[in-house]
């Protein structure tokens, strides 16, 4: 399997995984939120990382360890049965114009990358999200960040070889629809689950 550097990887994110994370950030507009990406390396092509699902994690006190440890344990436990694992990290900053990767985000992503070296950070791009309703942009409203050879996280430019792709080209159309219908109200994260275990962080039936 993979060598030290990422080479030219393609991160392909499924519609559901993608939309869930964006809706989560919209549900908690006034705080930062995070989540994990779930998936696997494409069995036929090692240069493709398939992100088939995502789990929204927290919307408060993102840098406290105990809830994070519990969530990662349970999430891994659940997905391993399907041959999937945690393959990356998602983060949305609190402020509209904040495009920096926070220390917390990098720490959590570092931890994840110990188990899945190609793990990326996806950072919500607020400007792109804002522009969603106005344009026909089919590219994801997220910024891709990967670890470079010196183990530092860097943002991947649009001209980079490594790319983040939406698996379904119409994902943004569906996302816009859900935003109009205020679907984000229905998203459950791990914080919600810890406050009330009847709330299911798997969000079954969210997209039915």
């Amino acid at each position: 399997m993979g060598t030290g550097t990422n080479g030219e990887l393609k991160y392909e994110i499924s519609q559901n995984a993608y939309i869930k994370l964006v809706l989560h950030s919209l549900r908690h507009k006034t705080t930062s939120v995070n989540g994990v990406l779930v998936g696997r390396i494409n069995p036929k092509d090692e240069s493709i990382v398939e992100i088939s699902d995502s789990v929204p994690l927290f919307h408060s006190n993102l840098s406290l360890l105990p809830p994070l440890e519990i969530s990662l344990l349970m999430i891994e436990e659940h997905y391993v049965a399907q041959g999937l694992s945690i393959v990356g990290y998602f983060h949305a900053n609190e402020r509209l114009d904040d495009v920096e990767l926070s220390g917390v985000g990098k720490n959590i992503a570092d931890h994840i990358s110990r188990y899945f070296p190609q793990s990326p950070i996806l950072l919500l791009n607020n400007k792109k999200l804002e522009a969603l309703s106005k344009g026909n942009d089919r590219s994801p409203v997220m910024q891709l960040c990967v670890k470079d050879a010196s183990k530092n996280w860097r943002v991947v430019g649009a001209d980079g070889g490594t790319k983040l792709l939406l698996k379904e080209p119409s994902a943004n159309v569906v996302l816009s629809d859900y935003i109009s219908s205020e679907k984000w109200k229905d998203v459950v994260d791990f914080d919600d689950h810890l406050d009330d275990v009847t709330k299911d962080w798997l969000n079954p039936g969210l997209f039915n």
Binding site: V197, T198, D200
Partner: protein, 302 residues
């Protein structure tokens, strides 16, 4: 801070209002009383009342409170024209009012005109240097501009004067946590626990921070505060129950290779009690997740 009962009442009213079942004024009053942030709904329903002269005059003197509430909600939703209009009405009714002056300064904030807002607040502070709301706006502005260290500086100065303001201590703690300054956050929670020893929220928050800092002593202390949280909540805090298990596991890992005298005596019984309580809760309320919980707990009993 809102209790579970209050939150339930709020959500009920919210549903009622959103589904056309009336109770708008009760809802708006409750939002004001609980000081929660429901700006989109307040804007929508408050404006509905304000735009109807019949409904408006039925409010009597409360009409002005509603204008204020809607103005703030509008600013939160970036409906600045609506906010401006509400403020104009209030200016006309209460010229020279400091309370309206604060709304004007808040509007400057909403527009991102930070320097002008600072000036406006400074002028207001000249007449009333002990206005807590204005001092807190300075913290909010620092946060909004992405200057957490400045926010911390302001908050610390504020707390030197208003040391009984629990919300401020909590805000400070949360800013410290977001910057991963856990020891400083711990200090804030210590102050909160000292002044409110029976509020489980603070015990829980303190425990989580201690665990995050790590190290044998902190883990032992964290477990104590998770335990006190469980005590104070009658065993209902899922987070605290998990916390006990995590602490037990972490302490055991650290203790490997340590002297037998240091052996963690309390652990096994406490951990299995917490684990059973969790399994009972999941069995009752989230049976689909029970097996996940059990394997997670198993992997913690190293």
């Amino acid at each position: 801070m809102v209790t579970k009962t209050e939150e339930r009442e709020l959500n009920q009213l919210e549903n009622q209002v959103e589904n056309g079942g009336g109770g708008v004024w009760e809802y708006l009053c409750l939002v004001r009383k609980l000081k929660v942030r429901r700006s989109e709904l307040v804007l929508k329903h408050g404006l509905f009342i304000l735009n109807d002269s019949g409904k408006r005059s039925a409010l009597g003197p409360d009409e002005w409170t509603l204008y204020e509430q809607v103005a703030i909600a509008a600013m939160d939703c970036q409906s600045l024209a609506v906010a401006q209009n509400c403020i104009k009405v209030l200016q006309k009714k209460f010229p020279e009012s400091k309370r309206v002056g604060k709304l004007e300064a808040l509007l400057l904030e909403a527009k991102g005109m930070w320097e002008e807002a600072e000036k406006a607040y400074s002028i207001l502070l000249e007449d009333n240097p002990l206005d807590q709301v204005i001092h807190k706006r300075k913290v909010a502005m620092a946060k909004a501009q992405g200057k957490p260290s400045l926010a911390i500086e302001h908050l610390n100065k504020y707390l030197e004067v208003f040391m009984a303001d629990h919300d401020a201590w909590r805000e400070l703690a949360e800013i410290y946590v977001s910057l991963q300054m856990y020891k400083q956050a711990a200090f804030c929670y210590e102050e909160l626990i000292l002044s409110n020893p029976t509020l489980p929220l603070y015990h829980l928050a303190y425990a989580e921070v201690l665990y995050t800092i790590g190290g044998h002593e902190n883990l032992i202390a964290a477990r104590k505060y998770y335990a006190s949280t469980i005590d104070l909540t009658g065993g209902k805090s899922t987070r605290a129950l998990f916390g006990i298990c995590l602490c037990g596991s972490a302490i055991a890992q650290l203790s490997r290779g340590r002297n037998k005298e240091d052996k963690d005596v309390a652990a096994p019984e406490l951990q299995s009690l917490a684990a059973s309580a969790l399994e009972k809760e999941y069995k009752q309320k989230a049976p689909a997740k029970l097996s996940l919980l059990s394997s997670a707990l198993r992997s913690m009993k190293l």
